[in-house]
Symmetry: C4
Subunit: 207 residues, 4 copies
């Protein structure tokens, strides 16, 4: 049934590609009567930061989604709908991104950053639910089944990392954004050259 999963992947790729590209629509052009354009552009730096974090997270999720489906050899009804749930999370991302950008300077800054980071917590949980369904439903290829437990432990890192960022928003929004950026760089960084193939696989699995 790799035909079945290849169609799910193609549809998912479409949603990932669209969501990641739509993000730019919420980076607004400053109006012409706000004084110096350079100043106005600089002032909306939270918009760029939110944009970059969301772009990085969706990009990393796409990489991980593909790796996950590389190991899935057949599909079932549950996989189909849990994947739609994951895509729901990915499609939603432009909203909390725009929310954070619009309210960084307003009284709603903490709330906006909490919604922003909360979205990623939920997506990471959906990712884990999808993975556990694939393990329990025996949808994986035989090679992956052996290392499933180890991979499960690694996947659990995602929700915890995002939960830390979520917690940080209540203490300091700039600190939570810094943690987001650090997380994105950590996920994107190449693993140590000396690592085994399995270690490298695990590194990237952390979402």
């Amino acid at each position: 049934m790799s035909d079945e999963t290849s169609r799910i992947e193609a549809f998912s790729d479409g949603v990932f590609a669209i969501a990641i590209t739509l993000l730019i629509l919420d980076v607004h052009v400053p109006s012409s009567n706000q004084g110096s354009l350079g100043h106005a552009l600089a002032k909306q730096w939270p918009t760029y930061v939110a944009y970059l974090i969301s772009f990085a997270f969706i990009g990393i999720m796409w990489v991980n989604h593909h790796r996950l489906f590389n190991h899935i050899r057949r599909s079932d009804n549950g996989l189909m709908f849990l994947n739609l749930l994951l895509l729901l999370g990915v499609s939603v991302v432009p909203f909390p991104t725009a929310l954070l950008a619009a309210h960084y300077y307003s009284g709603g800054r903490t709330m906006a950053a909490a919604v922003f980071n909360g979205t990623y917590v939920v997506i990471a949980v959906f990712f884990n639910v999808l993975w556990h369904h694939a393990v329990r439903g025996d949808l994986l290829d035989s090679a992956t089944r052996e290392s499933a437990e180890a991979i499960s432990k690694q996947y659990a890192v995602g929700p915890i990392s995002y939960l830390v960022c979520f917690g940080l928003t209540w203490i300091s929004v700039p600190a939570s954004l810094a943690a987001n950026i650090a997380l994105a760089i950590f996920f994107a960084m190449p693993p140590r050259a000396g690592g085994t193939k399995r270690e490298r696989k695990m590194h990237i699995a952390a979402i």
Copy 2:
């Protein structure tokens, strides 16, 4: 002519993926001078409900569209244009969704909910027209031709379900939304474990 149908499927997948992802553009960020952001976010719950219903319905339609084309072994001019008609319906969905979100608190609430549910009635009818064209035009594979009549009965459930929701809007808009949510959950739920393969297939066909 499975090449012909595979191209129709790829184009259709694109339209489904874009329509489902564009929905988020109509979930607007509350402006910063509306008091507490948390309160403002909570107040626009009808927006989230309309978004979730439309996301679920487009997702379910995509699943069904794929199942339908799994059984179609050749294409003709009519299939091409009836499929475009179905995609027209799917592409339109962001408009009634935004309409319902914007007018839930206005005097136009009933009208907005009627347009919302009316759209799904029309799409479900288009779906049935497409199916009947495939049956009459002998476009199905031989395995499906035998069970075509049974499947036709199942597909008829879609327009009737949506028609019930449409009727409900004139009595109570919240009730019609509750019926929409119930419908989405019913369509997405896995069939009973004891069911035969054919029963499971039929279950999901109900749109």
Copy 3:
């Protein structure tokens, strides 16, 4: 080099699918202080008409684009860039569609309808240029080369039909819209059952 053309087709399909789905973003929700919602929705009928015409035309163009590339067996630099020119035309469609919708009741109605129909004249010309490049550059498969002259005559119908609609805008905008709708229905209608396979092919080629 069918690999080369298959990649052009995939990219083109993406642009067609996105352009056709983006059209709905210009169907705006009436604001809640415009009196009866039903009345406000009915009043913006030119928006729906412009939307439907553009959806039909992009859909028909997609069908024809695929038919054209079915006959092209190899690609060159010119084909690549003439195809990008055609996609430029397709991508632009949401703008004249929104223009016509916004200015149907303003003093700019004739100008808006002229831009609307002028866009389709230009796209149809681009389509013919692409076709002639494929003929002259010997990019077609051998079967098509023989009937190339006959197909060329048929393709010429597109620009002329749109030019008639364009001319009509200066006499009567409603008449030009009626001509647009008639054109879309004519292009979409199945050819007479008695026609030969070649006649049927020609019918649809008229854009």
Copy 4:
């Protein structure tokens, strides 16, 4: 590992197709109370120029992206993320395009044009980084490896050309736009008929 790169290509194609089609959303319809519609449409010519330049540049980048991946025979972690960086640049394009269109008549014209051209400098640099990673990481097919040095020299033309346009913005914005248009035409023009196959390949590589 051509399966790995084909998935990267499909996702990249999606992002290119969406970014190029989204550009039209920033070509705004003039409001109906701005006097003559024809005049209002003519007055926003900088919007069309910015749109056409960005459409051409994204189209050319897509062509080059495909040519690049034609020569890449295997993928690694770095390629994956450097490609995401390139796609980040491509996705961003609608923002500087809208910025230039909105501020051509404002005091921020120079700043807007600098951001516009600066974006293309950055994208061209990302393109070169991706290429050098492929060369250094031994990801190319053997045929390309031999001519890698010559191709590297050609790819360096891109950032330099865009840097010249960027420099021009500080002297004259109209001159920089003219240089942009000249660049787009040069990149799109077919190479001289007498050129060797390798020369033709190099011509297009200049981004």
